[in-house]
Symmetry: C2
Subunit: 137 residues, 2 copies
DNA sequence: TACTTTCTTTAGAATCATTATAAACTATAA
DNA sequence: TTATAGTTTATAATGATTCTAAAGAAAGTA
C-alpha cells in the first residue's frame, strides 16, 4: 500500500495524526486522476454509499477544514447555500453553469492577465478569483 | 414626498404593489447618495433599530428577493455564511478585506479588460465577476 | 509493554440563515 | 363596494454548520 504511506507522511508532515478516517478521506479526495469539486455532503455520501463506511459528519467537517487550513483543499468563492471545495489547489478560476449548477475549472493561463488599477492603502492582495457565470445558449 | 412617488412608480412599473413595507425598504436601500453592501440581517436591524419600525423578517427576505429579481439589487458571489446584497447594480467587482470582513467596490474600469480564452460549447457567458481578497500588509 | 498526554472521533444538541405555511390583511380593478 | 389576487406576518420547518462532552486512539516516555 504505497498510497497509504504517502498519505501517512503527508498527514504527519502537516502535524495531523494519520487516523483511519483521515486516510480514507485522503483516498477519496486525492487518489484520483482528476481534481474535482465537492460539498461536505457529497463527500459524506461517497463515503457512506459508495464505500459503505461510516465516518461521522462532524469528522468530515473537521477533516475538510483541517485540509483546507493546510492548503490541501481550496474553498470556492460563490454564493450558494452550500460550501464548495476544490481538490485543485493551484491558482485557477471557475465557470459556474447556472443551467446545471455545476462548477468547471478555468485555468489561470486561459485568462489573460488581470490587472487591478486600484490599490487599498495598507492592504495587500492575497488572491484574485474570477467567477464566470454561464447559461445555455 | 417626491421620493415616495418615484418609488411607487418604480414598484408599479415592476409589477410590485407599492406597500408600506416595500416603500420603507426602498427608502433605506435606494434613498442614499452612495451604494452599499448589506445582509438581510443588516437591513432588518436598520429598520428595527434606527427607524424603530417593525417589518417581519419574512417580508424583508421576500422583498429583497423580489428586488433582486427585478434587477434593483445584486447578490454578491462570495462564500460566507451570510448572503451579501449590493445596491450597486452596475457591472463591477469587489475587494473582500479578510482583516475587516468588509466588501469594497472595484469598478469595472479599474480592471483591465478580462479575456477568457476558453469557451464552453452551447453555453454563453452571463457574467464575469472578480473577487480580490486582501489582507493587512 | 504500560502509562500519560494530547489529539481525534462521535452522536447528538445547538445555532443560525433561510424558506415554507397558512391565516389575516390590503391594493386594485370592476 | 366587492371580489380577487397579491402581501404581510408569526411561527414552524429545514438544512448546513458548529458545539459539546465523553469515549477512543495515537505518540512519547519510561
Amino acid at each position: 500500500m504505497n498510497i497509504n504511506i504517502d498519505f501517512v507522511n503527508k498527514l504527519r508532515t502537516s502535524g495531523l495524526r494519520p487516523t483511519k478516517q483521515r486516510l480514507k478521506i485522503c483516498e477519496v479526495l486525492f487518489n484520483t486522476e482528476k481534481t474535482f469539486h465537492f460539498t461536505v455532503n457529497d463527500l459524506s455520501k461517497i463515503i457512506s454509499e459508495k464505500l459503505n463506511q461510516k465516518i461521522s459528519l462532524a469528522t468530515i467537517y473537521n477533516t475538510v477544514h483541517a485540509f483546507k487550513k493546510k492548503g490541501y483543499l481550496k474553498e470556492i468563492s460563490m454564493n450558494s447555500d452550500k460550501t464548495y471545495f476544490d481538490t485543485n489547489t493551484t491558482h485557477h478560476h471557475h465557470f459556474f453553469d447556472s443551467s446545471t449548477m455545476k462548477l468547471i475549472d478555468l485555468s489561470d493561463d486561459q485568462v489573460e492577465k488581470i490587472k487591478i488599477n486600484k490599490a487599498l492603502p495598507g492592504k495587500k492582495i492575497s488572491s484574485v478569483e474570477i467567477l464566470v457565470k454561464v447559461e445555455n445558449e
